[in-house]
């Protein structure tokens, strides 16, 4: 380990670091604009200048690799003067419009000008002005403020994989833009706003809405895909103003998808804020008291065999366990947390991302089966892309799709898994020879009628080509719904073969064999197949479920309750409440608890703590918060035939996949732009 001297202190650092990173390790702050840990080094802002003996000139610390015996100074007059000089040059063309700039208060340039800049300006000439660029409905540009750090260009190229941003001109005439005017075609474009150290790129939906210091910040968990990205919810009063990523290296690093970030305006529209009951074919407003007694009466008078419950994709584990307990005490086991009836097996390893999201960073051959990670989990896709750049080989079975990186397209037909099992192909050789091969099975493939067979075949393939061994488990299922893994962990599924799952519930309801259906935030099932059953809808948005419902219980959205979610790798995480539910809406588990009392089967918990104790009782993984619990390997899936049918992607439109994003105006705009782009290309 090389040892270097920083400001007179000797420290030992790892090989291959840059001077800036070494200083950071030594606890010495170096101002910077263009340097970013997750991007390549550009070295063009010169803010990070430090003095290195015996060099007569200061050096850019972000681009200088360390050498044994280096002597660095960061507190000399020379460094101070260099920083002041760079700051002065940067501010020459930067407008002084902080009072009207959205970045004001959280701006690197503001902070560093305060910390390292001069206290006055000597610049009397006129400043340059740059035309604003159009980058789509999410990113707004005020390009006069750009300081040409090129972070955005590097992000688009390296992380998002859409090399659409670039610079034209040189020196003072340099402009960052898309060359030909167009919207960015990335699902990660919102991250540009976080990256830009100044206010050149700001969030368009949030433009001029709030100032950073008047927002209440709540640490929470995202529910728009199954990754469980760590987010920060910024709210003002009762309104969620914006959503930002939190850094979590094992999950989302520091990125989030555009849906996670910008669908939050959907939280203010189409809200269910009071209970309703259907009378004579019309939904009428009702009090909590009234609606609970109507439902209780119905449930008491129905035989448990003729009841069923389906849970949706955004539901927290607290309400899942409450509803499961309620239904089971009534004697009903027709439960399902899988709206799409995706196949799963008994050992936990059959439905989670066993290698962990972090495991992608170690995989060398990756086989994607029937999934489109770019839409199902954009941040995860960026991670696969990163691994591709590090040399991993990627193969795809299933429809072809632009994943932002090249891959070997093995076959559009899922039958290829069976083929690979029977006759080793070129790619299965690669998998077998790899040190850490990985298989990613899409939830769309498992949701087919032959899902069991696909799961079984994938499992066999994993064993055959050494994807699973004593120290590495690369068998990964890519779930799409935030509530899915939690639901399966809690056993919110039919108990025995005789009990009904979603598919059978719908079938039975069509035949009028089901009289009461409890939909817990479930909107993505075919509502017209519910026959004339009495439908109870508990949820937060008026969507398909509420339209069909006979009784509506207004619940809380993910920003409005303290909830537990288990992400696709089986990590149990807690989301915190940022705002209160609107109107008369209540937290979901409490609604079910109140209903249970009406029915006369009072659930044995009165507060959140007790609900969580109950969860840990059902499955010990719920006491292991923020960590991944070991999942053992075992037998699952069936050896049946994989059908010939064409594979249909489960997501038609990335921007609208659930009740919140369907209610969001921003997402509607994104959809429009994406459609226009598709038409143009066709």
């Amino acid at each position: 380990m090389p040892s270097i001297k920083i400001n007179g202190r000797d420290i030992e650092v790892e090989e291959g670091l840059t001077v800036l990173q070494a200083c950071e390790e030594a606890g010495v702050e170096i101002p910077r604009f263009c340097y970013h840990e997750r991007l390549s080094i550009a070295g063009n802002c010169r803010m990070c200048l430090v003095e290195m003996e015996p060099s007569p000139k200061p050096i850019a610390s972000c681009a200088m690799p360390i050498n044994d015996g280096m002597v660095i100074h960061t507190d000399t007059d020379l460094v101070k003067k260099a920083r002041e000089g760079v700051m002065e040059f940067l501010l020459i063309n930067h407008p002084l419009d902080c009072p009207i700039c959205d970045q004001g208060g959280e701006c690197d340039l503001q902070d560093q000008a305060m910390g390292y800049g001069l206290d006055k300006s000597r610049f009397l000439e006129s400043k340059r002005a740059v035309k604003n660029k159009y980058l789509g409905p999410l990113v707004s540009t005020i390009m006069t403020r750009c300081i040409h750090c090129t972070r955005c260009i590097r992000f688009a190229q390296e992380i998002a994989g859409v090399p659409e941003l670039g610079a034209t001109g040189r020196g003072e005439n340099m402009e960052v833009g898309t060359y030909v005017e167009k919207a960015l075609s990335s699902e990660l474009s919102g991250n540009l706003v976080d990256l830009c150290p100044v206010g050149a790129l700001t969030s368009k939906p949030y433009e001029f809405k709030a100032r950073s210091w008047e927002l209440v910040k709540t640490q929470s968990i995202d529910v728009f895909d199954a990754m469980g990205s760590n987010i920060r919810i910024d709210s003002r009063g009762s309104e969620v103003m914006r959503v930002l990523p939190r850094i979590n290296n094992s999950i989302n690093e520091e990125w989030i998808s555009d849906k996670t970030r910008h669908a939050c305006d959907g939280l203010g529209r189409q809200r269910l804020d009071r209970p309703y009951v259907r009378r004579n074919g019309k939904l009428e407003e009702e009090s909590w008291d009234g609606v609970l007694s109507v439902i209780a009466e119905k449930m008491i008078n129905t035989s448990p065999k003729r009841m069923a419950a389906i849970a949706g994709d955004l539901v927290d584990c607290e309400s899942l366990v409450s509803l499961k307990d309620l239904m089971q005490t009534l004697g009903c086991n027709n439960l399902d947390c899988r709206q799409d009836s995706g196949a799963f097996g008994n050992p936990r390893s059959s439905y989670i991302f066993n290698s962990g999201i972090k495991g992608i960073d170690r995989a060398d051959v990756i086989l994607l089966i029937g999934c489109n990670p770019r839409w199902e989990a954009p941040v995860l896709n960026a991670r696969i892309r990163k691994q591709y750049l590090n040399g991993a080989i990627i193969g795809v079975i299933g429809p072809e799709f632009d994943l932002t990186f090249p891959f070997e397209h093995l076959s559009p037909d899922l039958k290829e898994i069976k083929n690979m099992l029977e006759h080793p192909s070129e790619f299965s050789d690669k998998l077998a020879k790899a040190r850490r091969p990985m298989l990613v099975l899409g939830s769309g493939a498992l949701a087919r009628e032959d899902g069991e067979a696909i799961l079984g075949a994938a499992r066999d393939l994993a064993e055959r080509v050494n994807i699973v061994n004593s120290e590495w488990n690369g068998f990964n299922v890519l779930q799409r719904a935030a509530s899915r893994v939690g639901g399966l962990d809690l056993g919110f599924v039919p108990k025995t073969n005789k009990d009904l799952g979603t598919r059978e519930i719908l079938r039975a309801a069509e035949k009028k064999e089901i009289d009461v259906i409890y939909l817990l935030g479930s909107d993505e099932i075919e509502m017209d197949r519910l026959g004339d059953a009495f439908v109870i809808y508990q949820g937060h948005h008026g969507d398909a479920g509420a339209h069909r419902a006979d009784a509506i219980l207004p619940g809380a959205a993910y920003t409005e309750k303290n909830g537990t979610y288990v992400n696709l790798e089986g990590r149990c995480q807690r989301a915190l409440r940022a705002v209160f539910p609107p109107g008369e809406a209540k937290e979901d588990w409490a609604i079910i608890r109140a209903l249970s009392e009406r029915i006369g089967k009072k659930l044995p918990f009165d507060n959140l703590l007790q609900v969580r104790e109950r969860m840990s009782e059902v499955n010990p993984i719920f006491s292991n918060v923020n960590k991944i619990s070991e999942a053992s390997w075992g037998e699952f899936g069936s050896r049946g035939e994989i059908k010939d049918s064409e594979f249909i992607q489960p997501i038609e439109n990335f921007y609208m996949t659930d009740v919140i994003s369907r209610a969001s105006a921003t997402m509607a705009e994104c959809t429009e732009v994406a459609l226009a782009k598709k038409e143009k290309a066709a």
């Binding site: 009762s238 309104e239 203010g268 529209r269 809200r271 269910l272 804020d273 939904l283 609107p582 109107g583």
Partner: protein, 118 residues
Amino acid sequence: MSIRNWIYTFLNGKKIGVDEFGNRYYTGKGRKLNGRERRWVIYNGKNDASSVPAEWHAWLHYTVDEPLTQIAANSYSWQEPHEVNYTGTGDAYRPKGHDYKGGRRGSATGDYEAWKPD
């Protein structure tokens, strides 16, 4: 118009024109003030300086030599007819929620849109 003004205008004034509100504009015959000819307006009705339209305002304040014509006043599609200042009168602008306009404000921001069954 006071008697004094009327006599002065009768003796010294040369009428230049009348605007759309009926205000009459005069210059002095001969005698100059500070090296410039005198220009003044006799209002039609109440003395209200805001009733002088832009084209006459320019002339009155020596911005232009000749008064601008009505054609100049209407030569662009985006030009609006001149309006007097209504402050303090019944026609004054009042924002939504003003007591004289019912006194009911729109709901505060941060509210949500509730779903309504149809």
